[in-house]
Symmetry: C2
């Protein structure tokens, strides 16, 4: 979702979101993630300039998520772990009454984001998560059916 109230996110809620990310599983439990919590209006505006999604400029809270390349085991497994970590944070935000938007498009400008946040090169931007209280509104989303994506015992035998 992309429409947030101006209302700040309480510190204890931010803490719970980070905690959910912290407990994600990872290859060899290396926990290759680093987080930067951004509430400063100026910084948020600069980050927003790195994406085509203009709504980012008005979001009360961003969490930038990085892959710490000094903790890598295997890129595929580590990037999966980052995805698990982000998903934990999105689910935690939802359970706290918050809305969120997982922004991947900004990776096109990941070097600029690192510069804005004083981040060294061994941390690679993986996503920026926008978080805040959602403007109330009916929202919908679609997914493929299980019969299109799940198989029974072997490839080609539909799950149902």
């Amino acid at each position: 979702m992309r429409e947030f109230e101006q209302r700040k996110v309480e510190r204890d809620k931010i803490e719970k979101i980070l905690e959910a990310g912290r407990w994600a599983p990872s290859a060899k439990n290396r926990q290759p993630w680093k987080f930067i919590v951004i509430e400063n209006k100026n910084t948020i505006r600069k980050i927003a300039e790195c994406t085509i999604y203009k709504f980012v400029a008005d979001v009360p809270l961003l969490i930038a998520v990085f892959l710490d390349k000094s903790e890598m085991v295997d890129r595929t497994k580590d990037v999966q772990a980052i995805g698990a970590c982000i998903q934990n944070m999105l689910l935690a935000a939802h359970s706290l009454g918050l809305g969120s938007c997982w922004i991947g498009e900004i990776l096109r400008r990941k070097e600029d984001v690192n510069r804005i946040l004083d981040v060294p090169d061994d941390l690679e931007l993986m996503a920026v998560i926008a978080i805040g209280y959602p403007v109330k509104k009916k929202r919908t989303s679609k997914r493929k059916s299980l019969s299109e994506i799940a198989y029974r015992e072997k490839f080609g035998i539909p799950w149902r």
Copy 2:
């Protein structure tokens, strides 16, 4: 966790786990995942031969998760989405009273797993998830503290 009861996982629980995976977010909502649900003892034994984790041979349920390369947008984002999808399934399993183990080590033998499951080359094995009723036992796990992984506003300023 790696110690499972022999008891089968009920079909409606398998369905709920797949549903949780199905609803994960992904780049451009391309949903680049495919699942194979494996309960056949012979197939499970063959899959177990592809990993050093011998406990896999006795697990009642495996879900093999693949990246569908025909649905790719960007490998980093798609692999993150797979991680989010797997994490949704692990959390769903936990909420249903089940235990699970995310097996990545088997990727060393991903071509063999594809062969066992009749999977075409455009699906790349991302993980095998072992699921079942957990043998009751105290289990622990460790994580880095938030002060080691989270920063405030810029890199280098600890979150707390």
